[in-house]
Symmetry: C2
Subunit: 215 residues, 2 copies
DNA sequence: TAGATTGTTAATCGATTAACAATC
DNA sequence: TAGATTGTTAATCGATTAACAATC
């Protein structure tokens, strides 16, 4: 199998923010929402919103916009957020606790069924209602719970070794919050979340502004 | 001033991961590192690495590669990571604590001088050595400490109102971890970190794989 | 009906990749 | 010297934006 690449990746990344706006409309009991309105709310071009929504297969009505309920369903179906997947948190530190606390992901098919840590003080306790197990029983427990997704928030030096254990336990998708490029085979899904890259962008923007101001 | 847009944004986002590899080479006492080696390490094309590094102004040596020390200096200068900026954490929850704990950012010009929260149990305490103040004294304290960057990790419903207080206090850059699109004037730097967009990508990759496997 | 909005087709823009001469 | 690697110029690819007919 060749390396997994998402087509329309930039569009896919924008869909959750659209969903957020559209849900507000739903709470507002609106029947329709137009691409123009979504665009205004997010400071985007209407044509971009329309193109992005088109990939979900939704069909709108000229003059009115998109039917709110159908649009939400279309986006969720496209993202696969209508199906559940068992997930485990590997590393129950501050970041891990924050992630497990986000109700949002739970509403979108992510069912966190266990957490793992090496700290004896944490083991046998809970984070946001989820049991914390010893890293020693990682493989057995993951298999037992049929975990598909691992949320990896261990310290970077342990990332690769931990990953190998995850794969032995049958995990097929890794949400990687370490700053390590994991070595895995092409059939494993890896999404790396890299705060440094966002910080780099922030830094460059600040410099650009400073330089502009100096003129 | 027009809306700030970073040219070469994708390249800028990759620079921190290059820096990571190059620092390893430095620890290894290597004098030179080639684009080919960096590319191999990160599963990228060598030409992409060379093009990305070129924006920092570094000049390499045919056959040898780039001088390690100079390359690190060039990347850090380009990113502005050789200059310090005062920053404050707004919202000292789990995510905020995790961010403040990352030594990495502190090494790259981010000097977190204060944290703010509304929880009386946290106020007057510390997170990773940083004082936590009441949100009530936000504006005065930010001004007093000459804070430029706000790391915004408050609950989403408070994001916009908090932002307005930040701007009144003279903050010019916001690292936004809420899922709210902040309304600010064009001269304010905002970098939004959106976990949902990464999760959307992970979800689509998983679906793509499932569908491929079903065939 | 008039006009706002969709969805399609084409044009533009920017990023990635390829080709290759220069060079240490 | 031979050959690996740089850096430049050109080609390709994909994403964004523009234009506009269709339509409710």
């Amino acid at each position: 199998m060749a390396k997994l690449k998402v087509s329309f990746a930039p569009s896919v990344r924008r869909l959750p923010s659209y969903l957020h706006i559209i849900r507000q409309a739903q709470r507002n009991r609106d029947y329709y929402i137009s691409g123009t309105v979504i665009a205004q709310e997010l400071n985007l071009e209407p044509i971009q919103v329309r193109k992005d929504l088109a990939i979900t297969g939704i069909v709108g009505k000229p003059k009115k916009g998109y039917p709110v309920d159908d649009l939400i369903a279309a986006i969720e179906r496209y993202l696969g957020w209508n199906n559940f997947h068992n997930a485990a948190l590997i590393g129950a530190g501050n970041l891990g606790s924050a992630l497990i606390g986000y109700q949002e992901f739970q509403l979108h098919g992510l069912r966190i069924v266990a957490a793992f840590d090496t700290d004896p003080a944490k083991i046998a306790g809970k984070v946001h209602g989820v049991d914390i197990f010893s890293m020693d029983i990682l493989e057995d427990k993951l298999r037992e719970l049929a975990v598909e997704i691992a949320i990896l928030t261990v310290p970077s030096p342990f990332a690769q070794a931990t990953t190998e254990a995850l794969l032995r336990a049958g995990v097929t998708a890794i949400w990687n919050f370490t700053n390590v490029k994991l070595k895995v085979s092409d059939d494993i899904v890896v999404q790396r979340e890299d705060l440094s890259s966002g910080y780099a962008l922030l830094s460059v923007m600040m410099q650009t502004k400073e330089r502009a101001a100096a003129k």
